[in-house]
């Protein structure tokens, strides 16, 4: 299966449904940190350019806040695509992610729960 197919399968998203409204990019709190913007992410998947995505900063800048997923009017949900791309990268790298045993040491009372969840989503697959 090609990378693009993998992304589609993992995310369950059909990127062709995107109508390029940009609501994802308008909603994204990490927009300025990203080299490839959320709405462009969709285009990259459509254009089969997963390599560029993998090398981008964006994959790791997404906070998994789900704003784009909540608001996307076309059920494209770029956040899911980004998440899928990350998963593929992590799978490629092997099991060097976070293990549950390591968590307690990293915990900080001030740390918001959301961040913890998002870290899990990012690193622990």
């Amino acid at each position: 299966m090609s990378k693009v197919e993998q992304i589609k399968e993992i995310s369950g998203v059909n990127p062709l449904k995107c109508m390029k409204c940009g609501k994802c990019s308008a909603s994204c709190p990490s927009f300025n940190e990203m080299d490839i913007k959320p709405h462009q992410f969709v285009t990259y998947v459509i254009n089969d350019d997963v390599e560029a995505l993998a090398e981008s900063k964006s994959a790791w800048k997404c906070l998994s806040c789900f704003a784009c997923i909540e608001r996307c009017p076309r059920d494209v949900k770029p956040g899911k695509l980004i998440d899928a791309a990350r998963q593929i990268l992590i799978r490629q790298r092997g099991q060097e992610g976070l293990s549950p045993d390591e968590i307690p040491a990293l915990l900080d009372e001030e740390m918001p729960q959301q961040l913890l969840m998002s870290a899990f989503r990012k690193y622990r697959r």
Binding site: A26, H39, P73
Partner: protein, 662 residues
Amino acid sequence: MRKIGVFVCHCGSNIAATVDVKKVVELALQEQGVVHAEDYPYMCSEAGQVRIAEAIKENKLEGIVVCSCSPRMHEATFRKCAERNGLNPYLVEIANIREHCSWIHKDMAEATEKAVILMRAAVAKVHLNAPLQAGESAVTKRALVIGGGIAGIQTAIDIADAGYKVDIVEKEPSIGGRMSQLDKTFPTLDCSACILTPKMVEAAAHENITIHTWSEVEKVSGFVGNFTVDIRKKARYVDMDKCTGCGICQEKCPSKKPLNEFNRGLNTRSAIYTPFAQAIPNVPVIDANACIKLNTGKCGICEKFCQAGAIDYTQKDEIITEQYGAIVVATGFDTIKLDKYGEYAYNESKDVITSLELERIMNAAGPTKGHLERLSDGKAPKEIVFIQCVGSRCSDDRGKPYCSKICCMYTAKHAMLIRDKYPDTNVTVFYIDVRTPGKNFDEFYRRAVEDYGVNYVKGQVGKVAPQPDGSLMVHGVDLLENKQILKKADMVVLATAIEPNPDVRKIATMLTASIDTNNFLTEAHPKLRPVESPTAGVFLSGVCQGPKDIPETVAQAGAAAVKVIGLLAKDKLKTNPCTAKADELRCNGCSQCANVCPYGAISYETRQVNDHGIREDRRIAVVNSALCQGCGACTVTCPSGAMDLQGFSNRQIIAEVDAICR
């Protein structure tokens, strides 16, 4: 055994060049019941038809097969020929040996063999054809228009002008509809009321038009040409005949709490009210929920002040029953609820409004007397943001999948009007696409940009965040610049998706008119019959069929009127005799057929039957042949074979199958 005549056409050389017509004639004579067969160069010609006529008389033919071109070409010709000569037109069958045979095959032997088989199938079928009579039904020369907006008004006027009676049923206290709420209209910027009011007056004054406002359709029965409709005239508590429309009751009414629907709830009105000054009829209604007298028995101020003595607290809802030949649905639209769009803060901030609300704000009769001001603090907004496609073009469950079609244009209109009247106010429009297919539409939009300096930004807004200082932070994006935009605004206007009036579902059910997944009424054919419902005698006008602007609505309203006039102009309706029919002895009464009928043509009645000596009451399907269009969906659903289609009966089709597979 029926006496059958077979006529084989050469069609010049079109058929005869590849089909051995003599052979077809020869073999036809060996078929069961065929007593006459002949060939002729042009069967459809006058001379050809004379030969058919003679053969019918000489041989006392009881069925005819014409082997010729497609029945789509000349079936009607040969049927008429048969009818003229005393043979029921439905005892004619066509074997298509041109389009389906001679024109596509080169080998004479092969083409001849096929032509013979097609001839045999037609002979086998015609043996089982029943002499059908096209039914007739009388037409009530009166039309009903449901909905008194611009669509309904226009349809009614057009029908009335042709000399037919029309009734308009409007559920609000006045006709006028959405258009009466608009301030100006695109792309000409003329005042909506100025062009609508004369139409309203014309309708009210028309001798052929009866208007039932504050009324709803309660029940519909019957079929094309003969509908019976119950109309509920809601209690108005004001005598229509006595009221002079002076307005004093509204002024004196102490109950001022109810939200003013006409102004989209942006301000309040009295319990006794007319929705707007130019209302037709100019007779108020009492809002029974808000009226102090009706709720507590005390008050009665309006009655005291009414010099005409028109107030009548004892009025009750009344049901009137009328007969109609045709029904036009013109139920219009509303804007969607925005509860699911929390990100736009519509429910949080008074300064986030819909475009229709903006219409009322801009209107001199509106809640702010036409002054553009923030509803929160009354201040004039300096920075206004328009957001397009709110709830339109969505494939999620929050919005609608379609384009609402009118938003691009009215937003350009709003932007232009604001920039014109308040030049120091900045207007930004966040859009996905600007859609302007229409006469003078794109020019209009360009004027907004070029002449009025409206700032169009391509990109949807992600979020509107109310700020502590009362302003609104708009989180947008400029996709062309690939930049996120944070814009502080004083007012945000949402181009909210439109949807069919929620009542339409109830009405469609009563009319058995089909409705699509978005609650728009379905047209009989999307291209060729766009103003007719698949249910015969029901027509569509305006946005109930799909999003439209005013000129399109008026055009469709006229088109629907023409269809209605065409129907009402007939004294009798000829009905297609190829309709379904249930065999009462074999019907189980299981209702499956009714479930697949797209026309609501099947009903059930309990009837005493005599089934070979057993007399019992049974639930039996009954097909209304005036409604049935003859698709046959019911016949296959029926497990007992009780439902059959005349002209295409089970036995006829099986006979064709058998003849082909012989």
